[in-house]
């Protein structure tokens, strides 16, 4: 029982963090139906940012967050204008964006390998706080609690943005109907560019905590992180931010249960979950439409 309790609570902590991992991918898909296959590589870059903040300046990776957030936003906006408007004009934007961002992902991975080398980088858990946190009688590393807390904060912030700001309101209008939003005078491209940039920044933010929650990183982890993010987003359902929380929790708890009871098979979790959910309920747990070709 003790073990099960540990796995379940730990799973919730992981799940809240993993919701953050999928959040950026889902936001971008929800706003412009573009599959950001470079999502995992952005997370990897975020992790490297945290690593350098700690190793160059000896600061806590938390201090670097605002800087990273800004950096990723500044990367996202020009990239939007460079790639997306042309992409949206093609015959099959969803599929082509998938291939295009795969190219972007390969470029990021190659540039990161050339720049940082291919060795594994890790951060000690203690850099996010020494000692343990007790939750319902169980002890967990402080880093887990901090990561989960940042996950919750990011999701809440996104909700405030969506429902309490003019930009967020316009973003929801674009999500509902791109053409109609344009006729009401919304600058659809600018709103989408901001959404893309926010999606990038959320990936970077998730990356800051990746060394603690996912393990050591090197430039080639991007593809795996993308698949994990996809599993989370699809479990919830693409385009639905609330679904991401559910996806994260399902994934986090399933992962912890497998790691507790069948550790040697736990690497299969994200992939099996992804396939199962897609076959049983292709629209995700919160989706309505059934996707069939």
């Amino acid at each position: 029982m003790e073990l099960l309790e540990y796995a379940l609570i730990g799973g919730v902590l992981f799940g809240l963090y993993f919701a953050l991992v999928g959040l950026g991918l889902n936001l971008i898909f929800g706003v412009m139906q573009i599959v950001n296959l470079a999502h995992g590589d952005l997370i990897m870059l975020g992790a490297f940012g945290a690593y350098w903040v700690f190793h160059l300046w000896g600061l806590s990776p938390m201090v670097g967050i605002p800087l990273e957030f800004l950096g990723f936003m500044l990367l996202g906006i020009p990239l939007y204008y460079l790639l997306v408007p042309r992409l949206l004009g093609t015959r099959d934007p969803e599929m082509l964006s998938f291939i295009l961002f795969f190219g972007v992902s390969q470029m990021i991975e190659a540039a990161a390998t050339l720049g940082f080398g291919s060795s594994q980088r890790s951060l000690p858990l203690a850099t996010l706080g020494v000692g343990n946190v007790r939750i319902l009688g169980q002890a967990f590393p402080k880093a887990w609690a901090v990561s989960a807390g940042v996950g919750v904060a990011a999701i809440l912030a996104l909700y405030v943005y969506f429902y309490r700001t003019r930009y967020g309101c316009a973003t929801r209008a674009v999500m509902a109907d791109r053409d109609e939003a344009r006729t009401t005078g919304i600058n659809v491209h600018w709103i989408s560019a901001v959404a893309l940039a926010l999606g990038f920044a959320l990936a970077g933010l998730a990356g800051v905590f990746a060394p603690y929650m996912i393990g050591s990183v090197n430039p080639s982890v991007g593809v795996n992180l993308t698949t994990i993010s996809f599993a989370i987003v699809v479990i919830g359902s693409l385009g639905n931010p609330l679904g991401t929380i559910i996806g994260g929790l399902v994934y986090g708890i399933a992962l912890m249960l497998m790691e507790t009871y069948f550790p040697s098979w736990s690497t299969l979790v994200p992939y099996l979950l992804l396939i199962l959910i897609m076959l049983v309920k292709p629209a995700g747990l919160l989706g309505h439409q059934v996707r069939r070709a």
Binding site: V35, L83, R86, L87, T90, R91, D92, E94, M95, L96, F98, I99, L100, F102, G103, V104, S105, Q106, M107, I108, E109, A110, A111, T113, L114, V223, T227, F230, A231, V234, S264, W265, T267, L268, P270, Y271, L272, L274, I275, M278, L279, P282, R291, R292, A293
Partner: protein, 308 residues
């Protein structure tokens, strides 16, 4: 008669491929490079069967390649089958896995691609799992040095490449290939016009699985020592996709051209620092999607010429 002309073109192309790769080993010493080039021509064609004609992009294509290699190795190790039969067994095992994965074809677009990638990862983690060391040797890989035969495996690979190309020729010139294209453009209309949508997709999917399984089996035989990491590497899928896209998916000549030119380029600049090549093909993918979604073949077709 244009139909007859295209048949003659196809026959000439197949003969040219056979002669070039048949003679090349006596001119150029690096047999493995030539072998890999043929393997990638065949893989690009196999991917072309499913992507070029049905629009499904199998992002876990390498799964069939790995299954083929392991199927061959297991048939040799445990059943003591003759090698060539074992290579066929590798292809057949890939078809069986393709059947198991066939429900994925219900998904559309990016969902299919991601689910297929996940399926390939599952295959990799199962094969590489230390719990299965008695069967697959887990992460320690297969050692088949007893059957090592670079010349014969080269010849078999040549045949596989020609078969894969012939399959694409058939799709390009037949009514069935046309039906597949109709399905990919509008499945509902194709269905009302009397095309069996599910059967068409399934056949294309299994054909492409068979090709990748054969290529994987022949690859395992040629190098005779391999690890799960090497036969389930995402890079194999990526190369096949890039080569097919570059030349032009949906054509016969495109993937051949793409595989030969880009794999040659990869060996020219890629071996010492593969990252430069990765950077180049990443940029190439972006440029292709934005400016030439139908590959180099569309440049020629714009000039009014027909590309086989």
């Amino acid at each position: 008669m244009p139909e007859r002309r295209r048949l003659v073109q196809a026959a000439l192309l197949l003969m040219a491929l056979a002669i070039v790769f048949g003679v090349a080993p006596s001119v150029y010493g690096n047999l493995t490079l030539l072998f890999m080039m043929m393997a990638y021509v065949a893989l690009a064609q196999g991917l072309n069967v499913v992507y070029g004609f049905t629009g499904y992009l199998p992002f876990g294509y390498v799964g069939f390649f790995g299954v083929g290699a392991y199927g061959m190795a297991l048939a040799v190790t445990f059943l003591h089958w003759p090698v060539i039969l074992a290579v066929v067994a590798g292809g057949v095992l890939a078809v069986l896995i393709g059947l198991v994965l066939a429900p994925l074809l219900r998904l559309s677009g990016a969902y299919f691609s991601i689910a297929n990638l996940a399926a390939a990862e599952v295959l990799y983690y199962v094969v590489a799992n230390p719990n299965l060391t008695d069967i697959t040797q887990g992460p320690y890989g297969m050692k088949l040095t007893a059957i090592f035969d670079p010349t014969l495996s080269y010849a078999v690979m040549l045949v596989i490449m020609l078969v894969a190309t012939a399959i694409v020729v058939y799709l390009r010139l037949s009514k069935f290939g046309l039906a597949l294209l109709a399905i990919s453009q509008d499945p509902v209309s194709a269905g009302t016009a009397g095309v069996n949508v599910v059967r068409g997709r399934l056949i294309a999917w299994l054909l492409s699985a068979f090709i990748a399984g054969l290529v994987g089996a022949a690859f395992g035989w040629h190098i005779s020592v391999f690890y799960p990491d090497s036969v389930f590497a995402l890079q194999v899928t990526v190369f096949a996709i890039v080569f097919a896209l570059f030349g032009g998916a949906g054509t016969v000549a495109g993937p051949i051209f793409g595989a030969i030119v880009l794999y040659g380029l990869y060996n020219f600049i890629g071996i010492s620092t593969p990252e430069y090549f990765q950077l180049i093909y990443g940029a190439l993918i972006v440029a292709l999607v934005l400016f030439l979604p139908r590959g180099l073949a569309s440049v020629f077709e714009r000039g009014g010429r027909h590309v086989l």
